[in-house]
């Protein structure tokens, strides 16, 4: 996709983001202000970039998984496993490098397991990943023995709360991961093959696409992204909280992908759009916190905003509106009230 094509693709998401930011600013006027404290940038926008990191990272992998017509419910649990592994390693006195490698390895392994269930055993993605979603948290707790495994390794903490060139490390993490994965899938044929498998698995196989390897790869990338997210949240609170790390984040990641306009039925995808989607969700979350409503309103506000966003982005909305208009007009003309008709195909 060339520059303008890309821009056109993500325009709805950018507009939505702008709208959400504007809305939050109404409730919390200083929302958009960014300042410099010492050598790091501070302010709500920076918080959004930072706090949105786990969901953004998960959304990268999730986008690819969803593009193959799959879904990965286990990413939250994988975050917990990887965070726990890294904290365990640091706790054992191993070096940070070993800890990070261990976490990434664990993420890859989890992805391999999911991919194996989906691609080789042919289990449906929701159920296949549900298994790890349930068991994974147990595995993470097994590693931490149910405690919050704390550590004081400054390097590890830096992953979660440090800053480079003024920007928090987590923000760098998802931006870089997004660029790397985005380049890899678009500069190679990976993206095309993923989309093709997502649209029509059978036909792709008959055209010689090695769907098994492709699915394995995609779930492994998702596992890897979850591992990064796990490292970040663990580093951030200097402890591995096996029970709560990444809890229900898979849902936010899926939402981000959906807001990013990638069909849950597989096919065409855009990582950039998903990342903007993640930022939209995080802006809502941060906005709710800043606006100071009582917590019992959180869920309702989020639900309504998300629904609104998705409705506005729905391509059908135009049709329905047109249909309603046409109905009124034709009703005026003929007194009949025809129903709107949809085009075949999706």
């Amino acid at each position: 996709m060339n520059g303008t094509g890309l821009l056109r693709r993500v325009a709805p998401q950018l507009l939505t983001l702008a709208a959400v930011l504007a809305l939050v600013t109404v409730f919390f006027p200083s929302f958009l202000s960014v300042g410099l404290s010492g050598d790091r940038l501070v302010g709500s926008p920076i918080d959004v970039l930072k706090r949105g990191a786990p969901v953004a990272l998960l959304a990268i992998g999730m986008t690819l998984v969803i593009a193959t017509r799959g879904i990965d419910l286990s990413v939250g649990a994988i975050m917990a496993i990887c965070g726990a592994s890294a904290a365990f390693a640091v706790d054992q006195g191993w070096s940070l490098g070993v800890a990070v490698l261990l976490a990434l390895g664990a993420g890859l392994l989890c992805g391999l397991w999911n991919g194996f269930l989906v691609a080789v055993l042919g289990i449906q993605p929701i159920v296949a990943t549900l298994i790890l979603m349930v068991a994974g948290r147990g595995i993470a707790q097994l590693i931490t023995e149910g405690q919050i495994l704390t550590f004081s390794d400054a390097g590890f903490a830096f992953l979660g709360s440090g800053a480079v060139l003024g920007l928090p490390v987590p923000a760098w993490a998802w931006i870089l991961a997004g660029i790397v994965v985005g380049l890899v899938v678009r500069r190679t044929a990976l993206g095309l093959l993923i989309e093709s498998v997502g649209v029509n698995l059978r036909a792709s196989r008959l055209a010689g696409v090695n769907s098994t390897v492709l699915l394995l790869t995609v779930y492994m990338i998702s596992g890897l992204c979850a591992a990064l997210a796990g490292l970040i949240v663990t580093g951030d609170i200097r402890g591995a909280d096996a029970n709560n790390a990444g809890l229900w984040l898979e849902l936010d990641a899926i939402l981000a992908v959906a807001i990013g306009g990638t069909s849950l039925l597989g096919g065409r995808f855009s990582i950039l759009a998903s990342l903007i989607g993640a930022m939209i969700i995080q802006s809502i979350n941060t906005g709710i916190l800043l606006a100071g409503f009582p917590p019992e309103f959180n869920l309702v506000i989020k639900a309504i905003l998300v629904l609104l966003i998705l409705m506005l982005q729905s391509p059908r909305l135009g049709d329905v509106a047109a249909g309603l208009l046409a109905r009124r007009r034709r009703a005026d003309e003929t007194g009949a009230a025809p129903r709107p008709v949809q085009e075949a195909g999706r």
Partner: protein, 501 residues
């Protein structure tokens, strides 16, 4: 006029599919609707039956303006339709598919017994002996096609529309279908018939309407037209030469492949097959005789459980399509909707897909190269599309078929299997495809062509293999390849023919 469409217009982004089209159907007539691939036949039918919302024009049924809002609405109005792509549900039983929406009920609950007997009744007269309680998906495309016809016939109180119903049927089924259609005509129904088989068109239709590029070109009595004039009307130009018989034109080359005892239990009885380079092998048989299975086993789409395939260098691994492709095989499947096209991807991507998959993900085909390939095949195969970046799912049926052919031509395999390659392709393109087949073969490619159209087989094949009951039963070669010989071989179970030139 039973059904009358005036000034029908339908636009898609980048295309005007119907431009002010006029179409009239009288009661008690069979009205053929003809035109090249992409001329707008299917679109016209979809507008008539509420599947598409038209952009302009009006529709009169029995002189009253109607406005079908959905296919269900059209059904209520007494219009039964078989759409071009088989539109049945593979996960429902045959009986459920046939009766969907009007299952017989008792006390508000569907009565299975009544449904079953209704379904059997509906299938009466089509020569099918199938279990109506099995899932539809268990049956071949051809069987499904017949079931779709039976359903539409049952639904059609006034009008029956058939969009390429005979594309995958063989002569026997076509004859049966025509009997049914004549019966309906007697009863005063109006029947719209779309086909690219001109012989069939002349055999059944009373009047003919020709569309070209979304415009109405002519409506005439069938009797007043001959084949050549009809083709000229459709194409808007002369067609040089339709088909050419090729017997004795080629010298078979060296042996390319040899399959021995290849088979899979429950699918196809083990068979032997040798293929020479530069040779076209035709494969004939009735529905469900095992032709597609033969192709699938050869291509690794279903893994064989016995036998080997070897070439001059040694045994080949054909356990998956990817491996078969690596061994230089190609396979254009029969069911293009589920096995062929990747609907949401563009024409360019669909054409490049097999080659790209073969090269591996790490070596992308440069975009410019893909464009060049796509443009070349769009030109060579005359694929009607606004451009290479159109999603292939939005192309007309025949043009989708051409895209799949292009995908495999771009691979340049040494052995290509074509399962019903001309299904749904118009006369002009048909000639083009046959010419291409000849061209490929003269450049040394070997082909296995599966077709229900015996003339086509006779025209292209060097040898014809006849399949019956999942078993290869006869082989014809050279001058012995005639339609009669093939028909005899298919029909005569006892007399095993081993005719060789």
């Amino acid at each position: 006029m039973l059904l009358h469409a005036r000034g029908l217009t339908k636009r898609f982004p980048g295309t005007v599919a119907l431009d002010n089209v006029e179409f009239g159907l009288a009661a008690g007539e069979v009205h053929a609707l003809l035109g090249e691939n992409g001329a707008g036949k299917s679109t016209l039918i979809k507008c008539l039956t509420g599947a598409y919302r038209r952009d302009g024009g009006e529709i009169l049924l029995d002189g009253r303006a109607v406005d079908p809002q959905s296919t269900a609405h059209a059904q209520e109005l007494g219009i039964g339709t078989v759409y071009q792509e088989v539109n049945l549900l593979p996960n429902l039983t045959v009986a459920e598919n046939l009766t969907l929406g009007r299952q017989p009920r008792r006390l508000g609950l569907v009565s299975r017994r009544a449904m079953r007997s209704l379904a059997r009744e509906m299938l009466d007269g089509y020569g099918l002996s199938i279990d109506v309680d099995r899932d539809l998906g268990a049956y071949s495309v051809a069987v499904q096609q017949i079931i779709a016809i039976a359903r539409a016939v049952h639904l059609s109180g006034k009008v029956l529309i058939l969009d390429e119903p005979t594309a995958s049927l063989d002569a026997r089924e076509v004859a049966l279908l025509f009997d049914v259609v004549r019966g309906l005509r007697e009863r005063g129904l109006g029947i719209v018939f779309v086909s690219h088989f001109l012989d069939q068109v002349f055999a059944i239709s009373d009047r003919i309407t020709v569309l070209r590029n979304g415009r109405h070109v002519a409506t005439t009595e069938a009797a007043s037209l001959d084949r050549v004039r009809l083709i000229n009307l459709m194409l808007g130009r002369e067609l040089a030469e339709e088909t050419s018989h090729n017997h004795g034109r080629r010298e078979a080359g060296a042996e390319l492949l040899r399959a021995e005892g290849l088979g899979r239990r429950g699918r196809i009885t083990p068979f032997d097959l040798t293929i020479r380079s530069g040779e076209v092998i035709g494969m004939a048989g009735l529905l469900g005789s095992g032709r597609t299975e033969t192709a699938e086993v050869l291509f690794g789409a279903t893994a064989p459980d016995s036998g080997t395939v070897r070439d001059a260098k040694g045994p080949l691994d054909l356990s998956t399509p990817a491996r078969a492709i690596a061994a230089g095989f190609g396979f254009a499947p029969e069911d293009r909707k589920t096995d062929g096209i990747i609907g949401d991807l563009t024409v360019r991507e669909n054409i490049a897909l097999a080659l790209q998959a073969h090269r591996g993900w790490a070596r992308p085909i440069p975009r410019a190269e893909q464009r060049r390939m796509a443009d070349e095949y769009i030109r060579r195969l005359d694929i009607r599309t606004p451009g290479a970046e159109k999603p292939v799912g939005l192309l007309s049926g025949g043009n989708q078929q051409k895209v799949i052919l292009a995908r495999w031509l771009a691979m340049n395999p040494r052995f290509l299997i074509l399962d019903e390659p001309t299904r749904g392709i118009d006369v002009g393109a048909h000639a083009e495809v046959l010419r291409l087949i000849n061209e490929m073969v003269s450049s040394g490619m070997s082909l296995l062509v599966i077709s229900s159209e015996l003339e086509e087989l006779v025209a292209v094949s060097d040898r014809v293999i006849v399949v019956r009951d999942r078993r290869h039963v006869a082989e014809l070669a050279g001058q012995a390849i005639t339609t009669e010989a093939i028909v005899n071989a298919i029909a005569a179970p006892e007399a095993k023919q081993e005719a060789r030139a």
